[in-house]
Subunit: 414 residues, 2 copies
């Protein structure tokens, strides 16, 4: 479909989607969940075309694996939709309510954002996932997936549209842009008249390109150069297990730690043990002079290392003289995603929590907890690293805006 026609149809559908009641939305999510499993064969056949094209193109094995859909993965997608059906509808909330001296009664109520555009890369499960969250929060969604997954995404979208139709809901609640060329993507980012918000999901390069080119308001997600700061009073066993967990539990995710800060007073005490433990997990440590002098498992760092999101078995190490220096270093190099202090000192903890300018700041816990499910939101569309609108994990509430409903009895302004 022509891009502008598609965007215009989504805009035309948004008020209809906004008005669907909770039960009907949940029924549709459950029906679509069942349809995905029932029609998994057609999805897997479509996916095979993507896999074949990717193989011909010489795509790497891990990327092909991310692209692949199996019965189990489709079942997981289906389960995800059912979980979203069980979450409370964010549109039911009255956020505030008050009366003015002139008798006007004001009600601040949640409303959907409208049309949400999502630009993402190769994982086709995002298609179902993003639909479920935007739909439950009353939005119409326009998806622009990667060219690698175009057949899979088309098959999944067509199952979703079928489910919507069966429930008597407009199929324009979901649209998939089927051109995969770059020019279409750039044109999509100019569709400010139709699309209310754009959320990019994927690599740092994708996100940068959206931020650079979009005329639509963007929620920036993703990049995480996360820090673990081990304070003078840190408990060795907490420091060791948190550093290992944050760095190695899953390498390629935005809430994994990339940099270790150590207070100078622990350089010769507990740091060598932590360095050995990380080395035993195959992590290469790149550190400053003090770190180098304190452990045989440290190689020299360059200035650039401190700004890097490795997403790999690599970690930078920087020695600081105080919690203040740790905070200043983090605020300079981090992507404002997630950082942790390991300390037994309450004052240091509070200083760190207050001073570090990141979405999620931890005391004695792994940065890996920055996640909508771990926070108890029951869902996650992404993790915002910007200041506007939403910060940190974004669940259903973060996919909404609000409006004021004002009750008068003839008031005019004097």
């Amino acid at each position: 479909m022509e891009l502008e026609t598609l965007c215009s149809a989504a805009k035309a559908a948004k008020y209809e989607v906004a008005a669907i009641d909770t039960d009907k939305k949940n029924a549709a999510l459950i029906r679509i969940a069942d349809l995905l499993v029932a029609e998994s064969e057609s999805i897997i056949i479509a996916n095979a075309r993507d896999i074949a094209a990717a193989t011909t193109k010489g795509m790497s094995i891990p990327l092909i694996d991310r692209l692949r859909l199996s019965e189990d993965r489709i079942k997981a997608m289906s389960e995800g939709l059912k979980q979203v059906a069980e979450l409370p509808d964010p549109l039911q909330d009255v956020l505030e309510e008050w009366e003015r001296p002139n008798g006007l009664r004001l009600k601040k109520v949640r409303v959907p954002l409208g049309v949400i555009g999502i630009i993402y890369e190769s994982r086709p499960n995002v298609t179902a996932d993003a639909f479920a969250l935007t739909f439950k929060s009353g939005n119409a969604v326009i998806l622009k997936g990667g060219s690698d997954a175009i057949y899979s995404n088309t098959a999944i979208t067509s199952v979703i549209k079928k489910g919507l139709k069966e429930e008597g809901i407009t199929e324009d609640a979901i649209s998939l842009i089927d051109s995969t060329d770059r020019e279409t993507t750039v044109r999509f980012m100019q569709m400010r008249d139709y699309v209310d918000v754009l959320i990019p999901r994927g690599s740092a390069g994708l996100i940068r390109s959206v931020v650079e080119n979009s005329k639509i308001p963007v929620i920036e997600t993703g990049a995480g150069n996360c820090h673990i700061y081990i304070d003078a009073s840190a408990d060795l066993s907490k420091a060791k297990s948190i550093a290992i967990n944050a760095k190695t539990q899953r390498l390629g995710v935005c809430n994994a730690a990339e940099s270790l800060l150590i207070h100078e007073s622990i350089a010769g005490t507990i740091f060598p043990e932590i360095a050995r433990a990380l080395h035993d997990k195959s992590v290469e440590l790149r550190g400053d002079e003090t770190a180098l002098a304190s452990s045989e498992f440290v190689v020299p760092a360059s200035e650039e290392d401190y700004g890097k999101e490795y997403l790999d078995l690599l970690m930078s190490v920087k020695t600081v003289k105080s919690v203040d220096e740790a905070i200043a270093h983090i605020n300079k190099y981090s992507t404002h995603h997630s950082e942790a202090i390991i300390t037994e000192d309450k004052e240091s903890a509070e200083k760190f929590l207050k001073g570090v300018d990141s979405a999620c700041v931890y005391v004695n816990a792994s940065t890996r907890f920055t996640d909508g499910f771990e926070f108890g939101f029951g869902a996650e569309i992404g993790i915002s690293t910007q200041m506007l609108h939403a910060r940190g994990p974004m669940g259903l509430k973060e996919l909404t805006s609000y409006k004021y409903q004002i009750y008068g009895n003839g008031q005019v302004r004097g």
Copy 2:
């Protein structure tokens, strides 16, 4: 000062500004308020240079009047600062607090946005006003005023900096861009590495240009094509006084009404009286055929009239068959700012409140109430017409973001 140096200094100051306690912020606001009055002579001399340049340029009398500063206007600016000092500090609020089954304790707390850029036009009082609100909410501000007011803005900024210095606060809490050429403005809008949010204040043209050119996240403010819908069951006296107030109480403001919708059943009953009353206030009504046939005071409207923000003694009139048609018309033509229904029918009222997609939706009250002071926020930096972050009048709270502070005792992710 070179633009990048100035932006970088503001960024370097932002954490210092964020950490200033409430009492110190209030003391600085009061000191600056007093200094503005004490140094009003130097401000008025600077303002005279702007007035002289504007006169030479042939600026219109009303615009010159907006530019002019008098002892009284400076006193009003000073009072404005003192009022902001009296408002509660939005950074004191803990927004939410909860515990997860794994023992993690999460606290969602307000934080400043960081560095706020404000691009505005000729009224120099915005300089003091914008400083007060951004400073009280813990932000550093970079101001880019219009070239017409450059001497006035420079004088006001220098008094503010003097006051900050006397209170031992970094002068970089406020910066004024002193180049007034367009190229600097465009370069300023690219300073994403330094500026967290950009708020344009001024004409529709200014706002459009910022939205088009900015790489920094923008809060779009301002344009208001506001509607008054007179329902079948409307009370004549409410309808008449609200229509007159919303249209004529102040013409050049964004919350003034620009379009009148009438239910067809009142075309021949109460509409003629309302049309006459508006005509008596010198309002030219441009209507559709039914409106034309119902009142001698209506001239024909063109399609474009329905999309216009006149800011003048003009109003479009459109006849509709139902509240649903009124809602659809509004959602098509409005700028999503403020709209009102005049009705004695509860069902129509609720339908309208729910269906109209605008920041502020009224029942039986004038759209002129869309204002931070009228809402009880005690202040206003502008009225947002976008969905992201904030919608409607923006006070101190709307100039903040949040972060999560998470307390653990060694938790790692499994």
